[in-house]
Symmetry: C2
Subunit: 350 residues, 2 copies
């Protein structure tokens, strides 16, 4: 009750600055040793039921909270997993949300570090290393392999969505080619032959998607019809591709976008030009980000298995931690075509 410090000239809601209580304070209050309090807070065996309760109660009264820095410093293993993400990427957000509970379950804390235009991924990674993360999970990293090779020497690194051959980086990603094939198969089954792919350039997974598209087209004897338009993983590029097809009068009967954001840009641009989806042109995205399932979008898309990607990222990191000698793993997940409202048979000619 009451703050220990004097409360000068009231008025202001309250003057903070109550020195943060330590384990020692809790121990003193209960009349036990610091070590015992430590045991209680770590849920370690070796404290009576009674003691536990008393300690917890005292801690609560004091407003005690373990100091992570001290904890990390004293522990041989930090039990922290570093996660790098691009803050404005919704797919990354999905993954992060799924990673939290996954890590908690195995007793690890998560430290987030943002990669952004104002913050190079090297910096983001350095920060994580500085905090003694036991392993790193990098989401769709666009980091250069040479740098990663150095990092791998220090801690296990798991890359989600992008492969780094011969660097020692573990990988968790989707079988892109399989996803693309499902999409193309679906379109062909509907009767489409003129299917265009909007490329994702350097975006995670695009190289595989592009190759997968070409191969799938060949598989249907449509090698000649294959067309790849330049683009990237942004709405803008989808819209640009749409404008181009519109201007050139070369609109195909179906479009396979590099990812959902690109698909949505495309959808938006053609809709506003009076071209209907799927009436005039069918559209398939990739990722199944939350916005894709909105009732007014209903994007047919290829879903990546986010929960499993999250679980595997964490598990892969831990496995590597347990057995540092083993060869880097590559986990490949099966994507799933989600058919919604943007695909339909092509309009019959005349």
């Amino acid at each position: 009750m009451g703050t220990p410090e004097s409360d000068p000239a009231g008025g202001t809601p309250r003057t903070r600055r109550a020195k943060r209580p330590t384990m020692e304070d809790v121990a003193a209050r209960v009349g036990v040793s610091r070590a015992l309090v430590s045991v209680v807070f770590r849920d370690a065996p070796g404290a009576s039921r009674e003691t536990r309760e008393k300690v917890l109660r005292a801690a609560d009264e004091l407003g005690y909270r373990p100091d992570s820095a001290a904890r990390v410093l004293a522990r041989s293993r930090s039990r922290i997993l570093g996660v790098m993400l691009t803050v404005r990427n919704p797919f990354h957000a999905d993954l992060v949300e799924a990673i939290y509970p996954e890590a908690e379950q195995v007793g690890y804390d998560i430290l987030l570090s943002a990669h952004a235009p104002t913050r190079h991924s090297h910096k983001a990674i350095e920060a994580l290393l500085g905090h003694r993360c036991e392993a790193l999970i990098l989401i769709g990293p666009e980091t250069d392999p040479a740098f990663l090779t150095e990092v791998v020497r220090q801690v296990p690194v798991v890359s989600v969505g992008r492969r780094f051959p011969d660097t020692g980086v573990e990988t968790v990603h989707t079988a892109e080619a399989k996803g693309v094939r499902q999409a193309v198969d679906h379109l062909v089954a509907l009767g489409h032959r003129d299917i265009v792919h909007i490329d994702g350039s350097r975006g995670a997974g695009s190289a595989e998607r592009r190759r997968g598209y070409r191969k799938a087209m060949r598989g249907h004897g449509l090698a000649e019809a294959a067309r790849v338009l330049p683009g990237d993983h942004t709405e803008e590029s989808g819209a640009a591709a749409a404008r181009r097809l519109l201007d050139e009068g070369t609109m195909p009967t179906a479009v396979l976008a590099g990812n959902d954001r690109c698909a949505i840009g495309f959808l938006d641009a053609v809709s506003r030009a009076g071209v209907h989806v799927p009436g005039d042109v069918s559209l398939v995205g990739y990722d199944d980000i939350p916005i894709a399932r909105l009732s007014h979008i209903e994007l047919t898309t290829v879903r990546q298995n986010v929960p499993r990607m999250a679980a595997l990222s964490v598990r892969t990191a831990l496995n590597r931690l347990e057995d540092p000698g083993r060869a880097p793993q590559e986990a490949v997940l099966t994507p799933e075509l989600i058919v919604r409202g943007t695909t339909a048979p092509p309009r019959t000619r005349d």
Copy 2:
């Protein structure tokens, strides 16, 4: 050169586990004391040019990196600012990106903590406190005031975009009413009288926006025409509102959405129904998120001053740190109406 440890049974890219070098190691290599190395790494005065170079070189050769945990523990002040964000909110992402350089400039590190469906904001905040953050910047927090009142007792807290009266929480936000007024003025100047507002419910700033809308309408003698539709800050709610207006045949000549995401949902839904923007209905958003300026969207919207919000958040936190006794501040920023392509004079009747 080479790793200190033996490299058993090659094949695997490399076996990590080289014990992380400490300051002591660097000191030993150069032949100076640890304290001197510390001085160099803190950029503190008191080391010769020559020593600095030698130390830095040795550190580089060893791959030394300061240990944040030890650093934080030893320092009286951690020089860390905790930032909580909702990981899938693009507006939050913008702010975070702007906060990084701002913090760096004043010598502070940033620790991110995500609020998500899988992670309660209390937890996110606890984590930040556990890491000894000197102050907290909470972006659009939906945390309950009682909890924040407790937190404020321990560290300065800055809330961005949401006010917490009588809690001691500092606030940085936009003069929402002013932004809404600009939007309504613009619409009225174009000749609109039937202007509907889609509400943002509990979203940051919505209460002020709603009130501002009503007031602005009254100011134009349009109190009777004011209509507020239920909604929230998601695309889905914009689309739902659109469908409702479409179904009921009560489409106004202009719509003021609760935020950009809502506006985009609305835009999308009406476009697909063959209703043109701005030909049939004008539309104004709020926030000016990146997607709003895409060439195919060109959303007229109210821009919040993100760079200044970021700078002020950091500065406010620091000010409070310097003078813990002062009353909580409320920084109010002026919004700016960005007129783009979704607003035009209403269609002439008949």
